[in-house]
């Protein structure tokens, strides 16, 4: 059964119980029954789900940090392999230092340049150390859209379609894990966002139990959830405050169906407030680990090993918060970061000026994150970085890149030294070969995979995530797209020591 039919068939039980009918362990079947759906239908729904999705609880439960680069990031920082040809055909010229042999073109065709580059040297290091793999050929073929909205929707829901109500990747994970009783009732905040609302948490047309709904946190772990005292309610016994709060809770419960989001927010407020306080005080007392790659300078061989340091701006604080959360709260299974407020990636103009520092900041932050995970033995954390789509490689007359197709996936984590990792996962690779296509001096020129290159659709990223969580047939959830072949795909990496 194709996934669309599968989901549609569940819809016959009523939109409001679509997801609850999948949440076998959450006591929601009773509420579905109250909705007047026959028990036979509910039994059938559960049977269908359990029959369709082949689930095996993984030996290593992953924690995913999803970094979505809204706007569609250019792939060039991670793939300058065609730059000479690109420049020869571009409407406007590239910086000559990017050409092969130039001082901003690294061995493995990354966009280097040190403090002025796009993080290429960092990428080289991370791959050499087994902390990252780069997939250069995440290539959209089916229903190839170059519009932001459909691309964001399909990449963060893991499937094609026009229905804005389809569930996001995180919601699907919640459904599957809950249906298989993997998430314990006492698990604290399994789904977290540092970017506010995101399509990746789309609920779809169903309902998601409160425990599995995302909470949003501030990257600095600020705590607006605390409620300052109202002196008018001060009393020695605190009874007045309790009485008011109790009545408010009752009224909130009465309005639940109609004001769900506000009710959720009120219900979780206390819990979140306490959680942040707890987390903040833990972190205050914990220094960051020492830099495992530190090499003392020749003139100071006894120099102290410095602590790791995240960049103080851009992605640094947000990744720091996400990594600390993943370490201190293993219950947090899916953490979403976007770049809202951090500069979009929609580089239609002035690209050679604006794009490199942003990319460099991202790579600096990712490198520290990987080392941080390594030092804490967190081999189960996966950081995925991708966006709407790649970009044209022609420099247009505003000296930018318009919407393209082929994009990179940067997947980051602790190296093997951190311990047993997720089965089937492999870091330290560069996968994919590309060529330029399009007419000379025309705008629409972009990269495509060569005929002999590994390639996959963006939905393969979602399929890989589902697989990490134990779904053996993720195609069911992506409409036929399989996971990335991490171990079987050819490695194009050039070892600098070889």
């Amino acid at each position: 059964m194709r996934r669309r039919q599968f989901i549609k068939s569940l819809g016959m039980f009523g939109g409001s119980i679509l997801i609850p009918s999948m949440m076998g362990g959450q006591g929601l079947i009773s509420s579905a029954s109250a909705a007047g759906v026959s028990s036979r239908s509910l039994i059938n729904a559960r049977a269908m789900i359990q029959g369709e999705i082949d689930y095996v609880q993984p030996a290593v439960m992953p924690q995913i940090i999803n970094v979505f680069l809204y706007g569609g990031p250019s792939e060039l920082a991670g793939n300058l392999s065609n730059i000479d040809d690109i420049n020869a055909n571009s409407q406007n010229p590239y910086d000559t230092r990017l050409f092969e042999g130039g001082d901003r073109h690294t061995l493995n065709h990354f966009w280097g340049g040190g403090g002025n580059g796009a993080g290429g040297e960092i990428m080289e290091r991370m791959i050499a150390k087994g902390r990252m793999s780069v997939y250069r050929t995440i290539h959209r073929v089916d229903d190839d859209s170059k519009a932001h909205r459909p691309s964001i929707f399909s990449n963060l829901t893991g499937m094609l379609g026009e229905d804005d109500m389809r569930p996001g990747i995180a919601t699907n994970i919640a459904s599957v894990l809950s249906a298989n009783n993997v998430i314990l009732p006492e698990a604290l905040f399994p789904f977290v966002t540092f970017e506010g609302e995101s399509v990746v948490f789309n609920r779809g047309s169903g309902d998601v139990p409160l425990q599995l709904r995302p909470i949003s946190l501030n990257q600095n772990l600020r705590n607006p959830f605390q409620r300052p005292d109202n002196s008018a309610l001060n009393s020695e016994s605190d009874q007045a405050r309790e009485v008011i709060d109790a009545l408010a809770k009752t009224m909130q419960a009465n309005g639940k169906a109609r004001f769900t989001k506000a009710v959720d927010a009120f219900t979780k407020r206390n819990e979140i407030a306490g959680f942040i306080d707890n987390l903040s005080s833990k972190l205050e007392n914990n220094n960051l680990p020492l830099d495992p790659d530190f090499v003392p300078p020749a003139d100071d061989p006894g120099a102290d090993v410095p602590e790791l340091q995240y960049p103080g701006n851009g992605f640094g604080p947000r990744l720091r918060a996400a990594i600390n959360l993943a370490i201190e709260n293993p219950d947090s299974l899916f953490i979403s970061l976007g770049n809202q407020g951090l500069g979009g990636w929609d580089d239609h103009n002035s690209a050679q000026d604006d794009y490199p520092p942003r990319m460099r900041n991202l790579m600096q932050s990712l490198e520290v994150a990987a080392k941080h995970l390594e030092a804490r033995g967190k081999s189960n954390v996966v950081i995925n970085v991708f966006g709407d789509f790649g970009r044209n490689v022609n420099l247009n007359n505003s000296l930018g890149w318009d919407h393209g197709n082929c994009q990179n996936l940067f997947t980051v984590g602790a190296s093997a030294s951190a311990g047993e990792s997720i089965p089937g996962r492999e870091l330290g690779k560069i996968v994919g070969k590309t060529y330029r296509t399009g007419k000379t001096s025309e705008n629409r020129q972009y990269l495509k995979p060569t005929d002999d290159s590994y390639q996959c659709e963006p939905f393969a990223i979602a399929a890989s995530i589902y697989k990490y969580f134990g779904v053996q047939n993720p195609e069911i959830l992506t409409g036929g797209y399989s996971a990335i072949d991490e171990t079987g795909s050819p490695n194009e990496w050039i070892d600098p020591n070889a």
Partner: protein, 515 residues
């Protein structure tokens, strides 16, 4: 007899005069679109058939949507001896009075501009994002206020956002776009002409910054076509001589007429050559009015079924709206919006509505702080709805994720209602004095009406009274004066109300709150 005849003549003349005035007003009104089906206006009869409380809910739904508020003591006749709520004359005529006021200019606008200068202070650079809210707050309901409100709404959508958040745009673009909209609407400029002027502006190119980007987005934004990928390269050829300079050169829109395209391109089934040709095709496209209407209907009816929204759009479009005023008025006065629609309130709708109802006075720095991305207050940025900043416009719904909502709630509770932190402003004794005529239970109901547009339930009354008793009996409280006591009681009731989800939503008036 002669006196009687004279009287009759005088009365007749008077009546005729009234009729002429009404006709004048009616003829002005009749130039507006008047949908008759799904978007049909809430009639006077249907409004009057609502209960007093429901009429008040409708009035504040309308007023709140305009960032205004109708105080309870203006809407109800509290002086009457009746035990049930009695709607005052102004309350009974609220809908048609408001509709009439929205097309009448202030004849003393300068005075209200003075009030803005005296009551608000702004950061010089960020002024353009705060000043519109000051204008909306200080102007009485009028055409002038409505134009400011429409411009503020439009500049917060993907249709006209100045995208201040991106590198190539700045507060000057905010000013230009906002002022441009207000000015155009003051001249009754058509939707199509406003769109054309915007598309050809530098501010638009600072948001969508290359020929391909700009042409693609114009097709998507103003026509709702997301699958015209084949048209985009051809449109970008027509616009090939327009481009944005880099940051060092000030992100200026350059039109290189020496490089203008002269090869005809077929775009959207029409032949064009230049960039202006392209923009003309878009602005004059038959899809523009349905697209704009659809977009605005989607924003105001986010929880309504798509089938129903389509019917509303169809009804409005069938009336051939020309101006933004036509579309907004049709939406706001529709029975569907006023009676049936449920939606989260935007921060502005909730805060400014209640502020006016409880005589909340702002500090001079309030709006500057609210719109300051670096402030430690619960700002619009922290609620994920910064003013006129987001490249793709604000989310259609007020974000209700836990973090955004925490800031929203904090602003409502601490800065507006319970007076916990006060650097924005406060309600004061003038509001409390309105309750002097009430006994305790009546006063509690007055507070509920003033904020939630409903009276308290029995459980709520009993609970509030028991808490009053509890706190009144605390040491020191027994000796305070009546006004102070009322102040503390108000803070208690408002604190409670701040925790009710209905405060943050417009419930359906027909369904009531707790159904």
């Amino acid at each position: 007899m002669i006196i009687n005849r004279l009287l009759i003549i005088i009365i007749t003349i008077t009546l005729l005069a009234c009729k002429v005035d009404e006709l004048t007003l009616d003829s002005k009104l009749s130039s507006e679109v008047t949908p008759t089906a799904e978007a049909g206006a809430l009639s006077k009869t249907n409004y009057k058939n609502l209960t007093a409380e429901q009429q008040y809910q409708v009035a504040n739904k309308l007023a709140g949507s305009l960032f205004q508020g109708v105080p309870a003591d203006e809407f109800f006749d509290f002086d009457s001896n009746s035990k049930t709520l009695k709607v005052s004359e102004s309350g009974k005529n609220f809908l048609e009075d408001t509709r009439a006021q929205l097309i009448v200019r202030l004849d003393n606008k300068g005075r209200f501009v003075n009030a803005i200068d005296r009551r608000h202070s702004f950061d010089d650079v960020r002024r353009p994002t705060a000043e519109p809210l000051a204008a909306i707050r200080e102007f009485p309901i009028s055409r002038d206020m409505f134009e400011e409100w429409m411009a503020y709404n439009l500049a917060n959508t993907i249709l006209f956002s100045p995208a201040e958040e991106i590198e190539s745009a700045n507060y000057v673009d905010v000013q230009r776009i906002y002022d441009g909209l207000v000015k155009a609407m003051s001249k009754d400029t058509s939707i199509r002409d406003i769109i054309f002027a915007h598309m050809t502006s530098q501010a638009n190119w600072r948001r969508f910054r290359s020929p391909e980007d700009n042409t693609r987005e114009m097709i998507e934004i103003y026509l709702g076509l997301f699958d015209r990928d084949a048209d985009v390269p051809k449109a970008s050829i027509a616009c090939k001589n327009w481009y944005l300079s880099d940051g060092d050169n000030g992100y200026e829109l350059i039109k290189d007429f020496g490089e203008e395209n002269n090869e005809p391109q077929k775009v959207l089934d029409q032949w064009i050559t230049t960039c202006e040709d392209f923009y003309q095709v878009v602005a004059n496209h038959p899809l523009v009015i349905p697209r704009i209407t659809t977009y605005l209907v989607d924003r105001f009816f986010p929880t309504t079924s798509s089938a129903k929204r389509n019917e509303i759009v169809k009804d409005i479009v069938a009336q051939n709206p020309i101006r933004f005023h036509d579309v907004f008025t049709a939406i706001l006065f529709s029975e569907e919006y006023l009676l049936n629609n449920e939606k989260p309130k935007s921060f502005e709708e909730a805060f400014f509505n209640i502020a006016q109802r409880i005589s909340w006075n702002n500090t001079s720095g309030f709006l500057n702080d609210l719109t300051n991305p670096r402030s430690g207050s619960p700002t619009l940025h922290k609620m994920k709805q910064p003013a006129m900043a987001l490249k793709l416009g604000r989310f259609k719904d007020q974000p209700m994720d836990s973090l955004s909502f925490a800031y929203y709630h904090s602003a409502m509770r601490e800065r507006l209602l319970a007076r916990v932190n006060n650097n924005w402003g406060s309600w004061g004794d003038d509001f409390l004095r309105k309750g002097d005529i009430f006994e305790e239970e009546e006063y509690i109901n007055f507070l509920f009406l003033s904020v939630l547009s409903r009276q308290a339930s029995q459980v709520e009354l009993d609970t509030m009274k028991s808490v009053f008793l509890d706190t009144d009996n605390e040491d020191g409280h027994a000796n305070v004066n009546a006004l102070t006591l009322r102040r503390e009681q108000t803070r208690i009731v408002f604190d409670y109300i701040s925790q009710l989800p209905e405060l943050y939503f417009y419930p359906s008036v027909n369904n009531g709150v707790n159904q």
